[in-house]
Amino acid sequence: MYTLTGLKLKNPTILAAGVLGTTGASLCRVAREGGAGAVVTKSIGSTPKTGHSNPSMVKLDCGFLNAMGLPNPSYPGFLQELDTAKKDSGVPVIASIFGGSPAEFKEVAEGLLPGKPDAFELNVSCPHAEGYGAAVGSNPCLVEAVTAAVKDVVNVPVWVKLTPNVSDITCIGNAAESGGADAVVAINTLKGMAIDIESGYPVLGNRSGGLSGNAVKPVAVKCVYDLYTALEIPVIGVGGVSSWQDAVEMIMAGAAAVQIGSAVYDRLDIFSEIDT
């Protein structure tokens, strides 16, 4: 058993936000069949969002580019999914939430409390949603205020997921810590773009998006290393982890646990594979 911000995990591999987390049944499958020690939901907001038009995710040689656009059914619509995940996954369920202001974050967190999430993860790092995500997460004052606002209304751990698209990630990490965060999660995707040279169209429906997968791992390792050095609270490492060796590297950089996202493309049981 691992203890992470007070949560008991059977192993330190966690499903990352935005991956296989739209439905409760999917979260249960990742936990039961995939072997994840905990699961993070799709990021949930205050109103239903359909997200960007497709293509919303493409595989590149070096990783994946995506611009989903925070599609979500809003907190009232997600409560039944959260219920299912809590009831049947057998692992801690962390609710990822987003908002454009401290008040909106607070509203969503309070709205999901009846679903009894084991922790919250604040998405202040999505690189392709105007007014949300990294728009909040690149401003240290706002990160501190958002973190404090959520901490104020919940009595479960609050993790803050950081964007690497800033000049100094430790400055944002410090802001989260000052706001009362129980852990930081690093990193979200790096800004990226691909253009179809046959037609000249950007490949993603949103034109640009975020890069994940193998390509971002060295960036993630460096961010985790810097955050581990700068902060007192635990750092959860995410970005390009697709093998036990990657997980070990992330832990050597200072990560207390790892999250896994894009790597479910190859195999769902990547979690139990890393754990053994």
Binding site: G18, V19, L20, G21, T22, T23, A25, S26, L27, C28, R29, V30, K42, P48, K49, T50, G51, S53, N54, P55, S56, M57, V58, K59, L60, F64, N66, M68, P71, N72, P73, S74, G77, F78, E81, A194, D196, E198, S199, Y201, V203, G205, G261, S262, V264, Y265
Partner: protein
């Protein structure tokens, strides 16, 4: 895999609302039932079952498909795939029943052909609203016997595919492949369950796809959590027991929508 550039070489009008677009690329390794993501540039990217190694058959239903219908020979679109799990092919000597409704015939026409080539005896129940909406009759007929139903009775049995099926000895078939509108598939599912032949059946589901490659989770079905884009779109009847089939689907935001 970035989308490849596919140029339209021929367009067939299959019915007033259904067209087949042949393109200049052959998906040699495709299994019937697999799909491609069709990128109508500047509009959207939508999943389409392959109706042959080099074609998709499309019903005009929304923005992307309407835009696709404006394209002509020589125009191009992007293609990624083939993705997902297709129908299982029969072995030589096995009897195959194909049940196709409307544009659901698209992935089943190549399946019927492949089943015939594999040495299976193929029968098809082909249903549509009316005679003019029946697609791929000839392709199915070349693979074996065809029973037709139309809602308005303009051809074949008046009614639904289930009205034809109720007169057939379903336990005579080793494999049953189904694709069509969800309400039709749900009726067929119940019938096959009643006749205790569900374990021989496979159904091709359609759900809203975002990534199309098994990562985002937008198309996961209840209660199994299986991904339609990667674990499907073809599922065995047994996998769909106690599922959301025929009950609800989820829209682009993930909200449940009754069927």
């Amino acid at each position: 895999m970035l989308p490849l550039n596919a140029t339209i070489v021929r367009i067939n009008e299959e019915s007033p609302s259904v067209r087949t677009f042949f393109f200049d690329h052959q998906f040699e390794t495709m299994t019937p039932g697999q799909f491609v993501m069709v990128w109508v540039r500047g509009v959207d990217e939508v999943p389409m079952g392959l109706s042959s190694k080099d074609s998709i058959t499309v019903q005009k239903v929304g923005e992307a498909t309407s835009k696709l219908f404006e394209l002509e020979e020589g125009d191009s679109f992007g293609l990624r795939g083939p993705f997902g799990k297709g129908f299982s092919l029969p072995s030589e000597g096995e009897k195959t029943l194909v049940i196709a409704g409307g544009v659901g015939a698209a992935p089943l026409a190549p399946y019927a052909e492949a089943a015939r080539i594999a040495g299976s005896e193929v029968r098809t129940v082909l249903g549509a609203r009316s005679a003019g909406d029946l697609i791929f009759q000839e392709r199915f007929a070349d693979a074996g016997e065809v029973y037709i139903s139309t809602d308005d009775g303009s051809k074949g049995t008046k009614g639904f595919v289930t009205d034809v099926l109720s007169g057939l000895n379903l336990s005579a078939y080793d494999r049953i492949a189904v694709c069509g509108p969800e309400i039709m598939m749900a009726s067929v599912f119940r019938l096959l369950e009643d006749r205790k032949v569900l374990e021989r059946s496979e159904f091709s589901l359609h759900r809203y796809f975002k990534c199309g490659i098994g990562v985002c989770g937008a198309c996961c079905i209840d209660q199994s959590g299986l991904r339609v884009c990667k674990d499907g779109p073809v599922f065995s009847g047994v996998q769909l027991l106690d599922s959301e089939l025929g009950k609800y689907t989820r829209d682009a935001s993930g909200r449940r929508v009754k069927i």
